[in-house]
Every structure is written in C-alpha cells, then in structure tokens.
C-alpha cells in the first residue's frame, strides 16, 4: 500500500521503520539560523511540529512525553525549588513543571526562539504558563548556559532536546553531563529524553555510559509510550550523584492539586519498571 501525498512521513533510516500522519495542510515552514521548522494541521492528531524532518510533537499525544519528562523526577526529588529545562522550546515541559507549587524558578534555555514563538501560535495550550512569574525563558546555547551556571544552584535539570544530530548533539556528551553535575545540588537530578529503547538502543546505552563517566553514580531509565516517536516506545534517563530512585513523594502524588492525563502514582512505578532485556544489558533493577 502506498501513502497518498498528503501524509507526512518520518523515516527512521537505521531502524528501517517509518511513521506517518495524514495532514490537512502545512501551516508554516521556516528555516531558522539553527534548523528547519514545519507546522502541519493533521486530520486526527491536531497540530504537528516537525524539526529538520523529525516529528517533535502532536497536539494529541504530547501529554505523555511532557508529563513523563517532568512529574516523575519532580516527585522523586525531596524538595525541588529550582529547575532548568534545556531545550523544551515548545514549553510543554515548562507548563508541567510550573504545576508544582513548590517550584520557585524554572529557567528554560532553548537555542531557537522561533520554536517558542511558533508554539505560542500553534500550541497555545502548552504556552499557557509562559507568563508565570517563576518562568524565565532564555534563548541561548544550553550547553554554554549550564557550563556557566552557579555551582549547586539547581535541583533538577530536564534535557528536553531533539535527537543527537544537529543542535542537540552536544547535549549527549560527557562534558555536558559533567557541567550538569556541577550545577546540581546535593539531591539534584538530571533527566534527559533518551530515545527509543528498541530502535535507538545504542544511543541510549551510550548516554548512560557518558553520564556515568561524568560522575553520576546512579542512573535509572524510565519507559513510557509516545506514539509519534519512532517505535511508539520512548525513554528518559535520570541520573544522580548520590541517592537512588526507589523512593518518591507518593503521598504528594496522590494529593496533587492538578490534573494529569497519563501520570499518577501507579504510572510512576510502572515507568520505573525495567524490561528483562534492559535489566540484562544494564544491570538496572
């Protein structure tokens, strides 16, 4: 069966698979100094943002990714106050972080201001917290920003980046992780999107190695569904200098004063469960 021309397709060359969405219209296309951004209106998935040919998010299913990049580690940290988001220009992760009343400041550092400006137009629901006085939106190089961040000034760093090609590449290196470690407080946690556990296993295992080499003593990879990303199965990898990932503020999750669509206490534990093959490969319990 051949797809008609009005479908957007992302081909994952190395994995020999592709995912397509039926589109009604391309609403916008633009080459920024950093990347090519496209916005589509789809038939069943709402708006779609594509960067350099890779699907970034759809209106329909981004709640899975954004909730899982934020809430599990926010509830794992005993008392998070200061958060940095590296990348995340669509502001969906920022919105989720700001739902936590105890957060005092969130700095979002995306290299490309156009991602945020286009998100404000095409994904306004993700940008509804951008005016929160606790939010600081910087358009700058996140690698340099973390390198210059005050020592131990952050409780949580969320790396919500593109794949390790193009501007996102430097976010998957030992030197970047070393700078993250320095910027994190005693209980600090780094969490980064870490690709598909089934079709991008080498990237994922390489990230874990680089994090460990940078001095993070404890790692934990979380798993969750994400239909618009290759294989529909995604991961995030969390890292700490000390302390484990078994405990989380479960009571606070049960009593959280905001609604989620995917995340809850049971889903928290579910995301932390390690598939047998991954346990054998990494030793993660």
């Amino acid at each position: 069966m051949t797809l008609p021309e009005d479908w957007f397709t992302e081909i994952h060359e190395q994995a020999g698979c592709a995912f397509s969405l039926r589109v009604r219209e391309r609403l916008h296309v633009e080459q920024t100094p950093f990347q090519k951004i496209e916005i589509y209106d789809t038939s069943d998935w709402g708006r779609l943002m594509v960067i350099d040919g890779y699907v970034m998010l759809s209106s329909r299913d981004n709640f899975l990714y954004h909730e899982m990049m934020s809430h599990p580690m926010l509830y794992c940290h005993p008392a998070p106050r200061r958060v940095a988001i590296i990348g995340g220009g669509d502001c969906g992760t920022l919105r989720e972080v700001l739902r936590h009343a105890e957060i005092e400041q969130v700095t979002q550092v995306d290299i490309d201001e156009r991602v945020t400006r286009l998100s404000e137009i095409h994904f306004p629901e993700l940008c509804e917290a951008n005016d929160d006085p606790r939010a600081r939106l910087l358009f700058d190089d996140g690698i340099r920003w973390i390198a210059n961040a005050p020592e131990a000034g952050l409780d949580l760093i969320i790396v919500d980046s593109t794949d390790p090609v193009g501007p996102g590449e430097g976010l998957f290196t030992e030197s970047f992780y070393r700078d993250c470690l320095r910027a994190l407080g005693e209980d600090g946690i780094l969490v980064q999107q870490s690709e598909s556990p089934i079709v991008d296993r080498e990237i994922l295992l390489g990230m874990r190695e680089a994090m460990r080499a940078a001095g993070f003593a404890n790692l934990h990879t979380l798993f969750f569904p994400q239909p618009v990303y290759p294989s529909g199965w995604w991961s995030a990898t969390a890292a700490r200098r000390a302390g484990g990932f078994e405990d989380f503020r479960e009571h606070d999750v049960e009593n959280k004063p905001f609604e989620t669509r995917y995340y809850n206490a049971a889903i928290h534990r579910a995301a932390m469960a390690t598939p047998a093959f991954f346990q054998r490969e990494t030793g993660q319990g």
Copy 2:
C-alpha cells in the same frame, strides 16, 4: 518525504496514522478461504506476517506481545492447568504458555491452518513447542469451539485474534464472552488483545462493556509497548467472574525456570498500572 516503493505500509484510516517497514522481499502471498496472508523479509525487523493488509507480527518485536498475552494472567491465576488459545495461529503465545510446567493442556483453535503452516516455515522459533505433548492444535472456528466446550473446563482463555474485522469480528461480542464465561472454571480468566489504548479507544471500551454484560464481574486492562501495531502502544483486557487482579504468584515469577525478554515481576505490575485518562473513563484503579 515519500516512502520508496519497497516499504510495506499499514494505514490506520480512522486514526490518520500509518506505520511502515522497509522490506527486502515479499517471500509469500496467498489467499486462503479466510484471508490474505503475506510474508515479507524486512531490512531490520526480520520476518513480517501481514493478514488482509494488517501487520500481525515481526520477528524483532513479537516477544513483547506474546509474553504479555500469556505470562501476566498465567501468574495471576492461582493454579492454571488447562488453557485455550483462540486464534494465535503463529504459535508464539502457545510457546510462551508451554513454558509453564504446571500447564497440562493447551488447545489452540485457529480458523486458518495456513497461518500455522506458514509460521512453521517463516517463524520456526515460535513453533518450537508445537510438538509438545501438552499442545493440541485445532483448525476450527474458535467461536463454535468455545460454545461447545465443556462447562468450567478451562482455567485460562487467551483470545489472540486479529482486529474486529473479518474472521475475528465474532470474538468481540457479548455472546462469545458469555460462552467463554461458561467454559471457565471458578478462578478462570479470559484475556484478549484489546487494541491501542490511544487510537482504538472505542473498540477497547466496547469490549469491556460487552464482557461486563456477559457476566464478567471484574475487568482489568493491561498496557504494553508493541512497535509494529498502530500507535506502538497496545493493550490486553482480562476478565474474571470473581476475584480481582491485584495478586499474582510473584514468588513464582521471581523463580521462573525460563527466560523472558520483556516480562518480569516489575513489568507485571507496570502493565497493570492504569493511566490517569483511562482511570477516569473506566474507573479502573
């Protein structure tokens, strides 16, 4: 981006999405009295079986589906002895069930013998237990077979079927579920693949309603990844006349004498966790 012609694509029309695999060669195509079966050799996913245009399984990722259709409910039942598999002609579920030493008999009832014969050729690893003396392979109408099955003769019925179109349609009805209920013993469990929780929600909710109407007092939908199926996120729904799904033979899982690639005790609990939106829609805790 347009896909070259040597890719196999399954379009999910109602959901406006499609999934494609790069193929090297179509190894076989055949119209049986029941359906059209195709076998492909893919570049990265091993062999691929397609029925009536729908992906059934690939060598690379079928372990997720087959393990999750069998082990969670086998370990949930206190002492399973007699199992029926309705559909499942590729024999992958049968193989997993037969790994359980306490199983005395497994009857697989697939309407189309050609699925099994082609699986023996192209997926021999899935058929390696077909000669087990406890396995009984019938090629018959599963709906009629269940209707005529002795009362309370089964501990577990696994419905491993195609989507509710074509020969699989009758497997999603109240009258079929009523017959299943009659065929199950006191502690008996029915478990059926129940499509994507995100793009096939109406089918899934309809199945749950029909199961309940048929007299199953307790239901539980399980969630797991399955990259080659629409959205990459899949579900199975389990139903019991009495008794819940909270407990499982965890000690037996921890000491199981066979290897799995996805399933373990933590993944068991993870699959039972209910996403927030699904909890709101169904009340499932």
